[in-house]
Structure formats: C-alpha cells, structure tokens
Amino acid sequence: MTRDQMSPPADVREAALRPLASSGRRFWALVALLGLFVAWGVVAYIAQLVKGLGVAGYSDTAFWGIYEANLVAFIGVSYGGALVSAILRLTQARWRAPITRMAEAMALFSLLIGALFAIVHLGRPDRIWRVVLTPHISSPIVWDFVAVMMYLAATLIFLYLPLIPDIAVLRDRFRQQGGWRVRLYRLLALNWHGLPQQRHLLERSMSTVAILIIPIAVVVHSVLSWAFAVTGRPGWHSTIFAPYFVVAALYSGVALVILVVAGFRKGYRLERFITFTHFKYLAYLMLTLDLLYLYFTFTELLTEGYVMTEDTVPVLEALLVGRYAPFFWLFILAGAILPLLIVAIPKTRTIPGIVVASSLVVAGMWLKRLLIVVPAVAHPLIHQVVAGAWGAFHPTWVAIGITAGAAAAIPLLLMLFFKFFPILAIYEMEEIAAEQVRYVQASSPPSPVVVPEGSLTR
C-alpha cells in the first residue's frame, strides 16, 4: 500500500459526517422500499403468531427449516464483521480504518436480527422465558442463549468504544443546536476531550475487547453448530461441524462486509477513502476462506461418503444426486467456485467483480445453511421402522416474508444508524494519519541547515 492510500485526506470529518446531512430523495426511497419489506416481515410474523408455525411450512416431518438456516446465516455474517474488525485492529493493519465502523455496525445489527430468529423459530415467543427461568444446562439451546447474549454484549461494546471520540466530534459540532440529539451525544461522548489519559484508556480497552471478541465469536458459532452436531441425526452428527461453521461464518461475513462497504462507498461517495486496495485485501481474505470452506466441505463428504453408514447414505444421496442435488451443486458452483475464479483472475478482480463475487457468496452460503438444515430434518430418522416417507419443507409466503423482512432490516438499520453516527472512524483515521506523519518525519534525513552567507561573521 502506498503512503498516499494510507493517509486520510484532510476532509475525513466532512466525509464521515456526510450521511448526517439532509438526505436526498434516493435515500428516502430506498428507506421506504426496505421499510416495505420489513413491514411484510412483521405482517407475516403476526400471521404466524396467530395461526402457528404450520403457516410457515413447518410440520412434524420438517420441524426445522428456513428460520434455523436464517439464524445461522445472520449470526454468521455478524461474526465475520466483528472478526474482520478485531483481527485487523490487533494486527495493526493500517488500511482497516475506513471500513471498521461499517463492519462493526454490520456485526451488531446482523446479530440482533439473527438472534430474533431464535424467537421466530420458537413459534411461541412467550416460552423464551423458560430458557431463562428454568434452563437445562445440558441443552445446546441454553448454551446458544448464553453464548449469543455474551456475544451481543461484546459486539455492542466493540462498536461503542471506538465511537466515543467520534461522538465527541458530533457533540462539539452540534453544540449550538441543542435538543435531544446533542443531549444524547453529550451523554455518549463521556466528557471526551482527547486527553492522554483518556486515549490510553480507550486504546487499552479497545485492544482487550478485540482480543476477547475473537474467542467469544468462535464460541458462539461452535455452540450454534453443536445444536446440530450433538444430535444423532445423520447429516448433522459430525465432529468437524464447529470449525466448519466458524469458517462458514467468516466466509459469508467477509462477503457481507464487502457488500456493505461497497454500498455505502457508492451511496456517500467515499471513493477517496475506500479504495480498490480495501476491496482487494478483503477479496483475498474471502478467497482464502473460500478455499478453507471447500476443504471442509470435501472432508465432511469424503469421511461420511467413504464409510457410508446405513443412516447417512439416504441423506448423502439426496444431497449429492437426489432431490437436493441441484441446490447443492448450485452452491458449489455459484457460491464457491465462481467467486474463487472471479477473485483469482486479475481481469475480473475489479470492484464490480468483487461485489458480484461477494453477492454470490452471501446467497450461496445462505443456501448452504438451508441444505444443512432441511435434508437432515426431512430424512425420516427412524424411516426403517416408522411407516412414513421423507418429509419436505416448502417455504410459504410467511416464511419468505419474514426472511425478506429480516434481510432488509440490516441495511435499513445501518442507514438509519449512520444518520446519527459517523460512517468512518474519524479518530482512528486521524490517529493513523498522525502516526504516518511522525513516521515520515522520523525516517526522512534531516534537512541541511542553510546558513545565510556571512551570518557567522556577524
């Protein structure tokens, strides 16, 4: 990376606060469109509450379906956002600064939406209290609940701490205006004045939270995988499910970070701060995770397919050559091979190319989550003895509506969040720029002292 790309231009504050200015018609049109999808989701959920989970396509032979896939997919992308930010922060990757705020906000909102699917999937939201009041320690659902709550707290803190100095900028800028907004900024800015003591505390706590959030995120996704893997159900009962899920989360998470960054870069004309280099580095990260995910998929299929235990055969057959095969091979081609090629070939490794690859990854990984859930559930566990055939999950308008509403809620929440808070990490970008200046000054040879002629004689 060149020094040019690392140093933020002087108008970083103006760019970071650009979304806070009055928005144009296109912004509100997009908000309205996304709001419509969210409203559709709310109506669908009310219908489900009134009529029961059956209206979402659930039955006794397909008792887990799209909601479980959504839960894993949405929490997964959240994990990607948090980890990208945490790892880049801990490794002192200087290019991270313009994208960390978007990654951290995306992590929080996708986690909030993902966690809501646990309630949607439950069918009876009033029963969620039983997890709190009468938890059964040996239940993976209880582990899930604890892990997700812990991760939610960590993500919230991880977003808030670096925001403190930036909120102070807002507090100072809007001081004259007054009103609830300034009061909110004043409260959240915590009397920040950029004192050495404050900076030291902030740096230390941010590093600690960045260290903590990595194992917490690993635990969350491992626990999510154990909700599947600790059952005896063919297709789920696998020892590699925890790392498999963790890699899947990172893979889809990095892809969504790219999409979010690309969207806001375009929308708020942040091209000067978020350059092709950012996309290239993120795409390389995505490519590495793509290869890792393909490796895990191959390992999983090879070990199960080679042994071919009686229970596993029907699920594997259905997935590879049976009724689910078109979807599975679609995922392999469009969700893994094609993005890999797009990023690997220099000619297609452009910003639009990387965005297309990321879109394919996000859609493909959602499909893969559905393929983890549905075939294993639809396969009758005691098919040899129970008079019954394969079950089938057919998503209804209710299930599709709730899913579409949730997917629309993430960009909507991000857009509204950035109406109130800076989209770029001002403090970090200015810190890195100042550090850069210090580095350049320290490394450049001392300029020769020009002594005016005859001065020594005076």
């Binding site: 604890v146 812990m150 003591q197 404050q198 600690t208 903590l212 129970v386 019954g388």
Partner: protein
Amino acid sequence: MKRRWLVLSFLVLVVAGIYNPGLEPAFADGPSTIVSTTLKLDGATETHTEGWLAVSATLTTAESRPVSGRLVNFAREVEFFGSRDVSLGTATTDATGVAVLIFQPSGNGTQVVKVSFSGDEEYAATETSGAIEVVVAPETFSPEPAAPLAAIRRWLSVGVGILVVGVCAVLLGVFVIAVYGIWNAGRALEVEQQIARQSTPSAVKTSQ
C-alpha cells in the same frame, strides 16, 4: 349295486360343487377358496440372551389347522407425532403355525404388540394385537453416565460456567473501567476549565 351308489355319490358331489353358489366352479383358475385365518399372540418369553425377548404368534385356519411357511409381521404401537406402528420385524411360521420373533425391547413395562399376516392367494389376511409385559429390557439409554464420566461432566459444566462468567466479568469490567475512566478524566478537565473561567474575571478585576 355298489357301483350305482358310487356313481350317485359322484353325481351329487359334482352337482353340489357346480351349483353351490358359495363355491367357485372347479374349472376356474387358481385355488377354489381363500381360507380364512386367525392369529393368536402367544406372549413373550425371555430368551437365553439377556435383554432379548421372544414373542410368538400362531397362525391357524378357522378350523384351527396350523398354517406353515407364512410371513407374520410384528409391530408395536407407539405415540410419535400421533399413533404409529413401529415394526419390530417379521418371522415365518413353522409346521405348527408358530412364528417366533426375537427382539430387544427399548423399554420395560406393558407394550401393545400387533401381529399381522398380510394374506396370499391361499389364505386370507388377519391381524390381532395384545399386550405383553416386558420386564427384562436392558437400559438402552442411561441418563446418568458411569461414575468417572459423570464426574468429568459435572466438573466440565462447572469449568465452562466459571469460564463464561469470567469472560463476561472481564468484558464488563473493561467496559466499566473504560467508561468511568474516560468520563472521570474528562469531567476533571471540565471542572478545571470551569474554575479557570470563574476565576479569570475576578483576576481581571483585581488587576484593574
């Protein structure tokens, strides 16, 4: 004379065979009748192998003649998303019409077993059910693992619990320290500035 009686008897049999509406004509394809059958569940006995039971059923005709070489299905009634039949297996009847199925029951207590014969070209289908008392079922599921495993599980739960609480405590601790420290340092500066602002006019007045 004797021959005449023989001929008459033959004619009576032929006429009865042809004109009896309950019987099929002798020249029709296949067997002339499907014999009705009955099944009787004989109960279960413990086998020489521990935990395995032998459940038997006898297939006979209505006239109590044993039916041999026929497949008898054994199933158990269960409640699993509604009432369903779980197949226990099949067994073939021997010369005395007895089919014996050896199986490993999944639990103790009274179990309703259904036995059925699906019928063939010769014998009609039949089924029956009855309760058997299972008292020797092995523990296929053990809620409490063996002592060493139970200890490991208990300590593992405690360990994981401590770890979770510890991580949460560190996380919240870091957050509280950061928030308090930043707020306090900023507040101290603001107080200092306020004091300086208040003292400045008086200093000016004094100097005047």
